[in-house]
Amino acid sequence: MAITYEPIATTTLSTATASVSFSSIPQTYTDLLIIGQLGQSASNNSVRYRYNSDSGTNYSYIYMKGVGSGVGSGTEANATSGYITETSGDGGLNCIFKCNILNYTNTTTYKTLITRSGRASELVDLVVSMWRNTSAITSITIAQGASFPTNNLISGSTFTLYGIKAA
């Protein structure tokens, strides 16, 4: 039986690190899934991504979030990185995210990512983000903050990339 759901790579940080990358992503799956547990030591900051090392203004996103006491929503267009979630600065591994990247090998469509994420008692987030490029995704880099990076990801943060086959 063909394997539907397969780990491609996993990274656990042994020290504070500026970014995490998955490179040479096999083109043999249909969709990708990234599972992460992370934190940072500085103040609240976004967790962002780039595909294929593209730092151009080719990303956009919309998010909806709850913070317990209220809700919020926002968008950004023509950004230099896409958006996954937001961490706190408590130095703990309290942020979890789950990103689905659909049809990542398709060379006729822009690439969309949907993320569910949060930090208990602080934030829960639903994000859709787009990369305006029809190239297949061959690498993914994750970093903290719009400066890509602004701060480091803390030691103990984990990231796993899974491939999912439709048939």
Binding site: I3, T4, Y5, E6, P7, T10, I35, G36, Q37, M64, K65, G66, V67, G68, S69, G70, V71, G92, L93, N94, C95, I96, K98, R116, S117, G118, R119, A120, S121, E122, L123, V124, D125, L126, G156, T158, T160, Y162
Partner: protein, 167 residues
């Protein structure tokens, strides 16, 4: 290659109903867990809560939720709250669709998990919910228990626990 996504156990509620749905003796051989469940309870209402306990504990939980009922969006913090059930006065034969993803459940970090819930009802009120949760205990998760608020799960409620390996 070992199976990445593997069913550990399934619970199907019988004719007498059930006060809880529980998974115990969870092996520590996976990286993450995913609990997928379709449930209804016997209490009147269309917004009946489901709570979680882990390893028999109802303490040290924190949460942030984001929900919509079709006309408004709200956020709140209710520790242990993970889903809505269809209650006895909701549309007949309709069960809520829910999922919980536990990352790194067997490590010595605090346990963080994302909860999703969709409680459809062919009426003016239904609910969709996402939650960020944390159990602030470093023990591995060995037991997961779901309990409806002041109710019992009804027959045909089902739940399956999957183990996910990152290598």
């Amino acid at each position: 290659m070992p199976t990445t996504y593997q069913a550990i156990a399934t619970v199907t509620v019988g004719g007498g109903g059930a006060a809880t749905i529980q998974f115990s003796s969870i092996p520590a051989t996976y990286t993450d867990l995913e609990l997928v469940y379709s449930t209804r309870d016997d209490r009147g209402g269309t917004q009946n809560g489901v709570n979680i306990s882990i390893n028999g504990s109802t303490s040290n939980f924190t949460h942030t939720g984001l929900q919509s009922n079709g006309s408004s969006v709200s956020s709140f913090n209710i520790p242990r709250f993970v889903a809505y059930n269809n209650g006895s006065t909701s549309t007949a034969n309709t069960f809520a669709n829910n999922a919980i993803y536990f990352v790194n459940y067997a490590t010595s970090n605090n346990k963080v998990f994302i909860s999703d819930s969709a409680e459809e009802n062919n009426a003016s009120t239904a609910f969709i919910l996402i939650g960020a949760n944390r159990w602030g205990v470093t023990d591995a998760i060995t037991t997961i228990t779901l309990t409806p608020d002041t109710a019992n799960f009804v027959q045909y409620s089902t739940a399956t626990l999957y183990g996910i390996k990152n290598s």
